[in-house]
């Protein structure tokens, strides 16, 4: 064997790049022209090449070619400052495509931007997107100009609302939702961020046309599990068709319509959805739901066996609604979380609830804050808590309950928590022992 040692003492064989290294570099440089080469590589080699790939490569090349890894991490970190991968199932690629599409949609100006922009991207990213979190939807720019120019026109606009509605529509999700075959979560908000002095009510509301488009879109999207449409001024009229189309949806589990104005009629259709669908989580806080709506909901709840989470915060169910819901809990054995904060309830509801709590063994969290329960209600609850051993959280702040009762309630809650925790520990220990 021959050994060649250079005269340079600093020289060593480590400095010479290995052939495989050179090949990798070459492949990385020419990936655009020779995709098949990259495809043939083993996963480890692919991983080792990823740091070398140029970030300026066109998306249609990399999207299906490069697996999740360092390359996508670099892409993400280049575009966005904050990258919390835990929100995206620890997948950089998913994060990149979701945020990429979100950005495109959020900056999409109807009637101006070409729809081709989105159509080009969709086939590339449809395999990787599981969630769409749209935080703003722009309107056609024409309308702002009009609105800004003269205030008198506004009156006209308001009067001809229906006409305008026909014209003014946000981005149409129909194609997007049909294309995204793995979409599970869909968060929507019909609003414009940082509108400044151009404020108009119309910027912050869903239109009839949007509603119609959405209904057709939802029908096409069969994998959706979570739907969230917040702060979009959905009223009872618009709510109805939306919820009806979701009624026989095969996979929807969670519905969030908080901070809208669905009112009693909307609540009634929600109750209908509850009885027919298989919702597990329902959030309809701050929706001006009154006694009637609450009653309808309570009825649905008493027959329901899937719902685990119900949030009715900042509605106006009042004592009658509260009573109805509390009674519904007697029959229900699945609900674990109930939020009735800020609902103008009084001690009457509290008394009814305390009766229910003595028997119920599923409810774990109860929030009654910002209700005028008074001393009587407090006392009733405190008594009920003595017999209850499942409730681990009970928020009774801002409820005018006297200190002794609240203390006893908190004590009982604490005990329940401790017991719960002990049970958990024991279970864990058992599992470890079995393992």
């Amino acid at each position: 064997m021959r050994i060649i040692i250079a005269e340079d003492p600093n020289w060593s064989l480590d400095l010479v790049p290995s052939l495989s290294n050179l090949c990798q570099r070459c492949i990385a440089d020419t990936i655009e022209d020779h995709q098949h080469l990259f495809e043939k590589l083993t996963p480890q080699l692919k991983d080792s090449i990823q740091p070398r790939l140029s970030l300026s490569l066109p998306l249609h090349v990399t999207a299906n070619l490069v697996p999740d890894g360092v390359f996508w991490k670099r892409c993400c970190q280049q575009r966005w400052n904050i990258c919390d991968i835990s929100h995206y199932g620890h997948s950089w690629k998913r994060m990149f495509f979701e945020r990429h599409l979100e950005n495109l949609i959020e900056l999409f100006v109807p009637e101006e931007t070409e729809f081709k922009v989105i159509l080009d991207v969709l086939p590339l990213c449809k395999n990787y997107i599981k969630r769409l979190n749209i935080t703003q939807l722009l309107l056609p720019s024409r309308k702002f100009v009009k609105g800004r120019d003269d205030d008198q026109h506004e009156v006209v606009m308001l009067t001809n609302e229906e006409e305008d509605d026909m014209a003014a529509s946000h981005f149409d999700f129909g194609i997007v939702l049909t294309e995204l075959i793995h979409l599970e979560e869909f968060h929507l908000a019909y609003k414009i961020k940082q509108c400044g002095m151009n404020f108009e009510w119309s910027m912050f509301q869903i239109t009839d046309r949007d509603c119609r488009a959405l209904t057709t879109a939802f029908k096409a999207c069969k994998t959706l599990k979570v739907l969230r449409i917040r702060q979009s001024q959905i009223d009872d009229k618009k709510c109805r068709p939306l919820l009806r189309c979701l009624m026989d949806h095969p996979s929807l589990i969670e519905l969030d319509l908080s901070h809208n104005i669905i009112r009693d009629a909307g609540a009634r259709s929600v109750a209908e959805l509850l009885s027919k669908g298989q919702l597990e989580k329902l959030n309809i806080c701050n929706n001006e739901i009154d006694i009637h709506g609450a009653k309808a909901l309570a009825q649905a709840l008493s027959n329901n066996s899937t719902l685990q989470y119900l949030n009715l915060r900042l509605n106006q169910v009042k004592d009658e609604g509260g009573e109805a819901i509390a009674e519904a809990l007697q029959n229900n054995t699945t609900l674990r979380y109930l939020h009735l904060g800020g609902n103008d309830m009084t001690s009457i509801t509290a008394v009814v609830l305390s009766k229910v709590l003595q028997k119920n063994e599923t409810l774990k969290t109860l929030n009654l804050s910002c209700n005028n329960l008074g001393e009587i209600g407090g006392k009733a609850l405190a008594e009920a808590m003595v017999h209850n051993s499942t409730l681990t959280e009970c928020d009774i702040r801002q409820t005018d309950i006297d200190e002794t009762n609240s203390a006893s309630i908190n004590k009982a809650i604490w005990d329940n928590q401790c017991a719960d925790w002990d049970k958990e520990v024991q279970q864990r220990r058992k599992s470890t022992i079995y393992l």
Binding site: L314, G342, C370, R397, Q398, Q417, W421, V425
Partner: protein, 625 residues
């Protein structure tokens, strides 16, 4: 049991710490939820206020509508009355009209008031909204500040607590550790002690066993040895028997063996001889071949030799010529030398004469003319100083311790000459004797005449065989002595006779014995003298021109003294004198110039004198006139 007891407090501890963590989490979350709930409460309050205001507005509107309804009813009633009552007077009509108008105005007024109220309420609400917004922001700021402070404080507190807990745990751990260690040490010590005891017991047992084993081994050894001896003795007896049997057959066998051996030896010798004969025959053939080769070679060489003799003759001729020319040159040289010497001497004589004249005339010192021969060195020219002469001088030098012999030689000088000249003819009849004598003589010469040779050559010759040495030595000696190889027999003869002569002189006659023994050829001590005399003879005999020139050429004449000689001739007038001459020349020249000047002046004077005389004659004539 102990483990369980220990584990229980640990569980408790874990539980406590878990609860603590939960509490902490709750505390932290309550901070957030508190604000949330405060928000909610505020919202509820606002909503209630809004509801109240709305109710109030509704009531106002209701009131307004009922009152306006009443009024409108009244108006309608009046209208109907007026319209139904056509007979009514215009005055009445006018009255009714007025009333109606009043009512309308009242309604309008009411409406306006309501509108104003509502507008005011709106404004108020607007202001309220703005103020609440402002308040909210302020509150938010305050909250943020407070929260930050709280966070800082809490983190500080928690950190301290954490540090405390850590330190406590560490302490506990260290205490437990030390306790465990101590226990471990104790246990270990106990264990070691036990082990040591056990080991000691084992050691003792081991020693016992060893001793036992040793004893047993010894016993068995004795038994084994005894058995061995018995067996050995049996074997030895058997061997002895066998030997006896073999010994009885021995002499017969021996004889047979001898005969066979002899036969073999003879056969082998025969074979050897045969082989040798063959080999010799082969060698003879070889030798024959070599002989033929040699013959051929000799034929060739003889041809070459004839050529060679011709060359030698040629060479001899050339040599003669050379000698002739050399002699001529020598004679010429001598003549030239003598002539030049004569001339030079003459010149020197003249110079001396002139010198004496100069000294006499110029310096007035009447110096008698110095004799040239006194001043001159003796002339170095001795053309006939031969090599033999040189050798003789050398011999004389060497022979200083043996002067007596020299004297002898001197005394015998004349006889020698006579001897040589009378016996120089071909005297040696007995050649065989002569050859032997010659050999001896050679050795003798070599041994005795070493001193003539250079030490270097001797050294070189030392490793050679004595014969070769003598050959070389003889050559060199003969050369130095100027004796030809041909003269060697002569020399021997001479030496023999010289010895006889010596003997005669001493009065002893051993003529007979000389021929018989070589040692009596000549006494080694007399060799020198004999040689000298021989050489002298030789020189006399060979005083021909050839010999002279040969020697002349062989030994270049000594020119070292020539330069001195010529110099002395050149410097016959010494340096000082030459200088003196120079100075005198210079002074003479000066004197000469002065004299020439004077002569010129004299001429002038004479001219002037002539002029004067002329003038005087003229004056005289003039006066005479």
């Amino acid at each position: 049991m102990e483990g369980k007891e220990e584990s229980k407090p640990r569980e408790d501890q874990e539980r406590e710490s878990g609860q603590r963590i939960k509490l902490l989490q709750k505390d932290l979350s309550t901070l957030v939820t508190n604000t949330q709930i405060a928000c909610d409460a505020k919202m509820v309050l606002q909503r209630r206020l809004r509801a109240k205001a709305q109710a109030k507005r509704l009531a106002v509107l209701e009131n307004d509508s009922t009152s306006s309804q009443e009024k409108s009813d009244e108006i309608l009633k009046g209208k109907s009355e007026n319209f139904t009552n056509p007979k009514a007077i215009s005055e009445d009509l006018q009255k009714a009209l007025k009333k109606q108008q009043e009512l309308y105005s009242a309604i309008i007024h009411d409406k306006k008031a309501i509108i104003n109220d509502l507008l005011q309420a709106l404004k108020f609400q607007d202001d309220n909204y703005a103020s609440t917004l402002r308040k909210n922001t302020e509150e938010i700021n305050v909250m943020i500040a407070r929260m930050e402070d709280q966070i800082k404080l809490m983190t500080k507190v928690y950190r301290e607590e954490l540090a405390q807990i850590e330190s406590r745990h560490r302490q506990e751990i260290s205490i437990l550790l030390t306790k465990d260690k101590e226990e471990l040490d104790r246990e270990l010590k106990r264990l070691w002690d036990e082990e040591l005891e056990r080991l000691n017991e084992r050691k003792k047992k081991l020693e016992e066993y060893k001793r036992e084993v040793h004893e047993i081994g010894q016993e068995s050894n004795y038994v084994f040895n005894a058995l061995d001896y018995e067996r050995c003795s049996r074997i030895l007896a058997q061997e002895r028997q066998q030997k006896k049997n073999t010994n009885s057959n021995l002499p017969l066998k021996m004889k047979k063996h001898l005969y066979t051996e002899k036969q073999e030896v003879l056969l082998t010798t025969l074979k050897n001889i045969k082989g040798r004969i063959n080999r010799e025959a082969r060698e003879i053939e070889k030798l024959k071949n070599i002989y033929i080769d040699h013959q051929k070679k000799f034929a060739k060489q003889s041809i070459a030799l004839t050529d060679y003799t011709q060359h030698i003759e040629k060479h001899e001729r050339i040599k003669n010529q050379v000698r002739h020319f050399a002699a001529a040159d020598a004679r010429r040289f001598e003549e030239v030398w003598l002539m030049i010497e004569e001339e030079v001497k003459h010149l020197a004589q003249r110079a001396l004469a002139i010198d004496s004249v100069i000294s006499q005339q110029l310096y007035g010192s009447p110096e008698s003319q110095t004799d040239l021969n006194l001043l001159l060195l003796s002339s170095p020219f001795r053309p006939w100083k031969t090599r033999t002469e040189i050798v003789q001088t050398e011999l004389q030098l060497v022979e200083s311790p043996a002067e007596s012999h020299v004297e002898n030689l001197d005394t015998t000088g004349s006889t020698e000459e006579e001897l040589v000249f009378t016996d120089s003819g071909p005297e040696w009849e007995d050649e065989k004797l002569n050859e032997e004598m010659q050999d001896e003589l050679r050795e003798l010469l070599c041994n005795e005449m070493d001193f003539l040779m250079e030490a270097k050559i001797l050294k070189l010759l030392a490793p050679l065989v004595t014969e070769e040495q003598t050959g070389v030595k003889l050559g060199s000696i003969l050369y130095t002595l100027g004796i030809d190889e041909k003269d060697l027999p002569k020399l021997t003869d001479f030496l023999v006779r010289y010895k006889d002569q010596q003997n005669e002189l001493t009065g002893e006659s051993h003529r007979a014995s000389v021929t018989s023994t070589s040692l009596d050829l000549i006494h080694p001590n007399h060799v020198l003298c004999a040689l000298k005399s021989f050489l002298e003879q030789q020189s006399f005999r060979s005083s021909s021109a050839q010999e002279l020139s040969r020697l002349w050429l062989a030994h270049a004449r000594d020119s070292s003294k020539d330069a001195a000689y010529w110099n002395s001739l050149g410097n016959i007038i010494p340096e000082e004198r030459v200088k003196l001459w120079d100075s005198t020349l210079r002074t003479l020249k000066q004197y000469h110039t002065v004299l020439t000047d004077i002569s010129e002046l004299i001429k002038e004077q004479e001219c002037l004198k002539k002029g004067n005389t002329g003038l005087r004659l003229k004056i005289d004539s003039y006066l005479k006139k």
